[in-house]
């Protein structure tokens, strides 16, 4: 038995060693294809002429330039973006994706690209804060499938906040405008660009950033997602991101889009900045 088995093992090993360099050669990187849900300005959107644009796109191009490979962007809606990556429709996800334990089970994530806090939007003068105590009995809208929905359902709904899920973020804003909702919860940059800075959002304001997150449902930071079977690609992307920081390209791109430091912002879960201190003490008691 052993004798029959041994050659079989040898053959398998030989095939393995043969296959490995072939695979490595095939992967000698000439281009990276990024999957993008281009509906999320200022991070990723389509220009009127149909070209991909935004902060993520610029970072992606800079990463490709750093690695001296071609950059290709492919459109893919966000709810199917992980299955599409697994199905090898593209090599990496570059779509403002927050790292969560649930997602990290499916794919690998690069080092941090940037960070954005989750925050509340409300009518000017409403005086609501992103805490269960302040929002009790109020209607708060969230987009279904987002970490903000999980957050609101985990911490707020049990405390008597009326959390309503919507199919899309635009519907949340529509009902905020129509008055069905008292507030909405989403990430701050999206809210700023997608709503508050538009003409419709003039009567609305930020109600503060979420600071209370002991179960860490908001995840940590935003990163590029790569299939688990491609550690080489991940290593290269990580290296490129580090290079962008070193040579100042990152800061240049950042300055083009934001007037604040999107990289330095600590994860919402762990910060209790001095400015938010009065709000931070309230939720900690719950």
């Amino acid at each position: 038995m052993k004798q029959i088995f041994a050659p079989a093992v040898a053959v398998v090993c030989a095939l393995g060693t043969l296959a490995a360099p072939v695979a490595a050669q095939a992967k000698a990187l000439t281009q990276i294809t990024f999957g993008v849900d281009a509906t999320y300005p200022p991070f990723e959107s389509l220009s009127p002429s149909g070209a991909f644009q935004g902060f993520d796109i610029d970072l992606g191009k800079a990463i490709c330039a750093e690695l001296k490979v071609k950059c290709v962007f492919v459109s893919q809606s966000f709810d199917g973006i992980i299955p599409a990556l697994q199905a090898r429709k593209f090599d990496a996800i570059l779509s403002s994706m927050t790292v969560t334990p649930e997602r990290a089970k499916q794919i690998n994530f690069s080092s941090e690209m940037y960070n954005e806090p989750t925050s509340l939007v409300e009518k000017k003068g409403a005086g609501l804060e992103p805490t269960a105590a302040s929002l009790k009995g109020k209607n708060v809208g969230v987009e279904a499938g987002t970490i903000q929905e999980t957050y609101a359902k985990t911490y707020w709904q049990p405390q008597g906040v009326n959390v309503i899920s919507y199919q899309g973020q635009d519907q949340v804003y529509a009902d905020l405008l129509s008055g069905r909702l008292d507030a909405s919860l989403q990430d701050s940059v999206e809210a700023d660009y997608g709503f508050l800075k538009t003409p419709k959002g003039t009567d609305y304001q930020f109600g503060g950033n979420v600071t209370y997150d002991p179960q860490d449902v908001l995840g940590s930071y935003i990163a590029i997602g790569v299939r688990k079977d491609e550690p080489e690609l991940l290593k290269k992307i990580d290296w490129a991101i580090a290079e962008l920081h070193k040579n100042g390209t990152y800061n240049k791109i950042e300055a083009k889009y934001f007037n604040f430091d999107v990289y330095g912002t600590q994860p919402a879960a762990t910060t209790a900045p001095a400015a938010a201190a009065p709000a931070a003490s309230a939720p900690a008691a719950q």
Partner: protein, 234 residues
Amino acid sequence: MIDILQNYWQALLYSDGYGVTGLAMTLWLLVLSCAIGFCLALPLAVLRNARNPVLWFPVWLYTFIFRGTPLYVQLLLIYSGIYGLDFVHHTAPLADFFRSGLNCTILSFGLNTGAYTTEIFAGAIKETSHGEVDAGLAMGMSRVTLYRRIIIPAALRRALPAYSNEVILMLHATTLAFTATVPDILKVANDAYSATYAPFDCFGIAALIYLCVSFTLIFLFRRTERRYLAFLSP
């Protein structure tokens, strides 16, 4: 598959711990909208067959509009459109009613199925055989008695197969409810999908639940048909 069921069976069947969701919500939508539709359709079907255009024209217009436009559009108009009107905002009872997504959904579903049901019943009333009507008249029945005792019971029996079809189509139409933030079966399946990224498992479970409900409805209607349409069997 097993862990999706373990995590979501409660939300899929009756509640996520805070409100009614899943199957219970879908059935509630179905029962209520079919009840509204039925109550609406019965008088309208009689009016639809009236000779006076003042009576039949508004009913014709109603069924024409609600059968001629997609339910999705109707739901959006009622949910987003009506609540956006100024006078609705400033009339307290209307504002309260339209503020709730569930009310808007049931209203639009009820009006929609009402339009289809009206046409089904109107067709059945029209096809009541002249002999039955003549016999009733010969017995000296008034118009009201004639409708109450002869025409409507006979028409409802003959409308059963078509009506059962409409109820099942309505069950399928309830999948639109999440557009108006009503958490039906499909919404829970979507939640499971966005948490696990396992499309076949999540939507497969939803499909199975819908299949079970459809099957139960078909079974019940078959039994009812056998009982009330026995006189038509060969």
